[in-house]
Structure formats: structure tokens, C-alpha cells
Symmetry: C2
Subunit: 365 residues, 2 copies
């Protein structure tokens, strides 16, 4: 997979008359090299790739990551920086015959770019800011990647179902979140793909709720948003249900959210404009009188990273392409009452889409 | 605490003839506002602060975080962006009488800065890149903060000791890492301050090892690097020991690392230059013949975030100030053999330092 990806990226660089690209975005780094180290934020990188159009690609990192880098990034020569990335680049670049060097403007700090510009001027190099070159490649998945993501989705569902069957009044949000994460790892996941959200009652009105010590009471809404990483690939799913017997208002609202989700799924196909897919769901909620309680975008791409291109938001004019994988997650959030969000993942196909999920908890109405 | 911090920052802005600052760095955001939401990386911010020298400070976020922001950031007016941060800034800035607006160059993407510059030009605003203004404030802790960090350190030790007493051959790295994180939360921590490192045998030669399914064998080195967050404040500690009876080579190397750690602790005091503290430890390892196996810096500040200013690295000419809290973590890493790292945290005082740790596992030689 790596060789093919490098080949496609090189072709893309040639078309742009670029001699090389510096890859700083961690998802892109893993996608192009297989090197799986995480960054501790953008200020503490675990390495960057320097990919010339011709010649062997380099992985630049520090000694902490030397072993892992050489074990994982088999197509790359690992070079260590002891005095920082820019010092190493200053030594390496003049020998590589690079004139026009692209860097990832969307994952490069303003302060680093200022330093880098000074260096480029000194050694007579043209820096070319680019955005999204590799992200656009990553957005369209191969069938092999789709199969891996499907595996991740199904394992995530299995974890959900195991824990779902144990949930009862008296448990806390934190307790359930921990049980989810423990079960993920026990069943072979690398870990969660993001911090699990477990929210009871009015806490579910926070779309990004952090689990608390709140105790589950009978009749409470339970919103669980969870995902895991399996063989590098992420899953992401949200289920909402009630502890005990759901009331009439809850069921009405749940049906509306599900209707919005199904309308969006109906709208997904290659060529569909992202904001139109968002609108398909949003207008159902609008017409039901809940539009103003749906404050986020409809969904996002998922792959090696849990949030990828494309964004399915109300302002995106981008078109879906076959092989993209997106979440479809409409929700409504009423501060005094609680929230309902339903999230599945779907692969975009030429004439429609294929939902990857099988679990129906909270969807069978 | 928040009011006092805002006051100090405003004074600092006035000295620089700045009318306001835009805070994007998540640790700084929490430090100045109390708002504790996490970012999903720099590309998915959960909000920014706009702090004018006079007038009420603003917290700009999106609707997902509205509730949390207004509950936590009591000194701030929460403003929501629906069409992105820059659109909101375009509406707000002209009314605030701001001429010179600082932004955090070290936590601002190159691509965002490009957009922001266009906007600033349109509305006749001078953008001033600054770095580290708030980080320098954060680096020096108040006695109240020191007390909170001490609590975090002691809870972290308690968790370590509980799990340490259960470790025996047959357990896996992942199993121990999960037990650590579970126990942290059970004892009241918000969670780990970073992904725990549990590394057996040769895995311990990777300073940033990720726990695997490797099974502990008698005689293996066990390296555990762990920290937790308690009431917002982080701890960070590393212990290395052997499952069973340690060999002679191990003990010699352990003693050398401990000697290096003690030499650094001896060198810490207000006014000491960071690289000299690093050197105090490094020259012990150099003289012992292990200098080239110590590839990282000696330590780093710890506070609301687990990696803060100051960095105790071989190139830092900065001076320590009383009230700073740093880790002291020399280590040696031999790929074919394994690694040893010992890490404690210390508060810089006028005439020396105060080690916050009490646990002596692997230190009593």
C-alpha cells in the first residue's frame, strides 16, 4: 500500500512542479510511511517526512523514536536530528538538489514557518505552502482500507453491545466509559479512537460531553459516542437510548433524528455536494421544529484518523467521491432536557452508499 | 486565581503596547479562563480567548461547547461562531477599538495566519505575532498551584504503588497500563496526563514505548512512565525495576542513572541555567560511558499540561526561576538490552529545590 501511495503523491508533486514535500501532519505521515508514533500536539512532533520526487524518502526524527521509525517505515531512510529539525534540514537540503519544496501550511506553525523561511532564504530554496494534498488522497479509501474500517466498525459495535447489556441505574458515566475502553483493548483494539462520550440525562445536551461521576437514574437518556482503532483504522458510532421505558417526547424526538439520518444516507452518492447531504438531514430537523438545536455539522470522514476529509457541513461545496467514508450523525441538544444523536458510518458508492454499521440499538423504532 | 492571572497578562500587554491578545494554545486558554475543554488537535479547536486590555474578555467557541464554556469561564462572555472563527472576528473586532492585536505565533497554523492577515488588512488592524507570553507566566507556579501539583504527584505515586505490588510474570504491558489508568480514575483523577508507558525487557529501550501484548518474564526490566491529572494539574513519574532479582549490570546502570538524577537535583535552584542542569546529569552519564545512550533532554516543566516551560535540554540558555516545577528524568537506552529511566518532579526554590516525590521504588539502591 505504501509504495503505491508514494507513487501517487510523487505524480501529484510533478504536476505541481514541486521537487519535494515536507510532511508534518501525523495522519499523513502514517499514511505515507507506516510509521505510527503519535505526536504530543503540534509542538512535540515525533518526526516529519521529506519526500523528494526522485530518490529515497527520508523520515526525520529524534533518537527517542529511532527504533520504532526504522521498524515501521520500511521505505524510508531514518535520519536523526539532535539539534532540532531545522538544523538537520539545513545540512540535508543542499545535497538533495531541491529547488521548490512544499510544506503543509495547514499543519505548520506560524512561528516555525518564520524560521523555515529564513533558512530557505539562506540556502536558496523556494518554499511553497500547500494544503490538503495528502488529505485528498486519504479521503478516498481503497477496498482494502474499506475492509479494515468495516472490521473496526464491527468490533466497535461488539464492544458497545457487550457493555450496553450491563448498563443499569446506579452506574456512573466514568464507569461505563472505562468499561468501554477496557473492553476495546481486551478484544484487540489498539485503543479508543477518541475519548469516549458517555452522558446521562441533561449531560447528553453537551455534544462533546466529558464523562462525570453522575449516577444513572431510571428514565435517564444515555448517549454513548465511541470509536476504536483496529489495525490503524478508526471507527466512530453514537447510540442514544433510555434507561428504562422511554417517554413519548423522547420517542418522537428520536424518530425525528433517525428520519434525518436516513434522509442524509439517502442523499449520499458520488457527486453529491457535501452541504446538500447535510441539508437533507437538517431540513428534516428544521421542519420538525428542532433545527436550532442541531448546532454542528452532519458528519466527517474517518480513516487512519477519526476526523478526516470530507467534512459534511452546511457550508462545504465539495463533492463526495466513491470510496470516501463518512459519519452521518445528526443530533438535537436541548439544555434543560438532554440530547439525542445517532451516528453511523457509510461508504460513498457511485450510485448511493453502503452503511457499515449493523447494530440497531436505538435505531429500531 | 483567574482574575489575578488576567490582571498580570493585561499589564504585560500594556507594556508591549498591545490592545488585545488572541489566545489559541489550549493550556493557556484553560489557565486564563478555567475553561477545560480539550482540543482534538490544532485543527479542531474547542475555542479561543479574545482578551482586550480593557473591557470584558471573550471566549469564542461553537455551540457544541456553549454550556461547558459558560459554566466554567465565569469571567468571560461566551460568543458562538456558526460560520467559523474568522467570520465572527470580522464582526466583533471593529467594535472593540483594537488597533494592535497579538496572536500566539507558536500555536497558530501558517494557513490560518494567512487568512487572518487578509482579514486584518480589510478591517485595518495590526497583527502582532508573539510567542510564549502566557507560557512564561504559567511556568512560575503560585504556592496554591504547587500544593495542587504535589497532590497530583502523591496520588500518582499511590496508584503506582498499588499496581506495582500486583505485578508478576505472565502479565502484559497493556494489562498493567490499563490497570494504572483504571486505578487513577477510581482514586479520583480526571484521567492520565499522557498515555502511560509500560515497557518490558528490550521494549524499555524505546523512551516513548507504547504498551504491547508482550508478556512479562522473570528477570525482565519493567519501565513505567505515568502521570495523572487531578483538579486540572498534572504529575509525571518514571520508575524502572526488575521482575525478580536484578543482575549486576542492571544495578550498575541503575546506580549511574540515579547518580545523574541526584546531580541534576543538586544543580537546580533559582538562577541556574537550564542547560547546566541538564549537563550536571549528562556528564555523569558521559563519564560512566553511557552518554550516547541518553538521547533526550533532562526534563520539562509540568503544570496544567504535562509538558510546559521550561525545557531542561542541552541547548537551553534560559534561567530557572523560583516556583517553576520541572521533571528530572535522565535515562539510558540500549536497543539490545533495555532502558532505565528515573523521573521525579521538583519545585525550584531560591537556594535549591524541593523534590515533590516520596516514592522510592527503584531509587533505594
Amino acid at each position: 500500500m505504501i509504495k503505491e501511495r508514494l507513487k501517487r503523491l510523487r505524480a501529484s508533486l510533478r504536476r505541481r512542479k514541486l521537487d519535494a514535500i515536507l510532511i508534518t501532519e501525523p495522519g499523513n505521515r502514517r499514511y505515507l510511511s507506516g510509521y505510527s508514533a503519535a505526536d504530543h500536539g503540534i509542538q512535540e512532533s515525533s518526526g516529519v517526512l521529506l519526500l523528494p520526487v526522485t530518490g529515497k524518502p527520508l523520515l526525520l526524527t529524534d533518537s527517542r523514536f529511532e527504533l520504532q521509525a526504522s521498524e515501521e517505515a520500511l521505505e524510508f531512510t531514518v535520519e536523526l536530528y539532535r539539534k532540532g529539525l531545522f538544523t538537520l534540514l539545513k545540512q540535508l537540503l543542499p545535497g538533495l538538489g531541491i529547488q521548490r519544496l512544499a510544506f503543509e501550511s495547514h499543519y505548520f506553525l506560524h512561528s516555525s514557518a518564520a524560521k523555515f523561511s529564513l533558512l530557505a532564504e539562506k540556502i536558496g530554496l523556494d518554499l511553497v505552502p500547500v494544503t490538503g494534498v495528502v488529505e485528498r488522497m486519504r479521503a478516498v479509501k481503497s477496498e482494502k482500507e474499506i475492509a479494515l474500517i468495516k472490521k473496526s466498525v464491527l468490533l466497535n459495535e461488539r464492544v458497545f453491545q457487550l457493555i450496553h447489556s450491563t448498563i443499569e441505574p446506579g452506574m456512573t458515566e466514568v464507569e461505563i466509559a472505562l468499561a468501554l475502553e477496557l473492553t476495546m483493548r481486551e478484544l484487540g483494539a489498539e485503543g479508543p479512537s477518541f475519548d469516549s462520550i458517555v452522558a446521562f440525562g441533561t449531560n447528553s445536551a453537551k455534544p462533546h460531553a466529558v464523562p462525570t461521576d453522575r449516577v444513572l437514574a431510571s428514565g435517564d437518556i444515555v448517549l454513548i459516542d465511541m470509536g476504536l482503532v483496529l489495525e490503524g483504522y478508526c471507527s466512530d458510532m453514537t447510540r442514544t437510548f433510555v434507561a428504562g421505558k422511554p417517554g413519548k417526547t423522547y420517542l418522537e424526538r428520536l424518530r425525528l433524528v433517525r428520519k434525518a439520518q436516513l434522509a442524509a444516507i439517502e442523499a449520499i452518492r458520488a457527486g453529491a455536494v457535501c452541504r446538500d447531504v447535510d441539508k437533507a438531514a437538517r431540513s428534516i430537523l428544521d421542519n420538525g421544529g428542532y433545527g436550532r438545536f442541531f448546532g454542528h455539522g452532519l458528519g466527517h470522514g474517518v480513516g487512519l484518523v477519526v476526523h478526516e476529509e470530507p467534512g459534511l457541513g452546511p457550508r462545504s461545496r465539495k463533492k463526495l467521491r466513491a470510496g470516501m467514508i463518512v459519519t452521518v450523525e445528526p443530533g438535537i441538544y436541548l439544555p434543560e432536557w438532554g440530547g439525542i444523536r445517532l451516528e453511523n458510518m457509510a461508504v460513498v458508492r457511485e450510485t448511493g452508499c453502503e452503511v457499515l454499521n449493523e447494530d440497531c440499538t436505538g435505531l429500531d423504532l
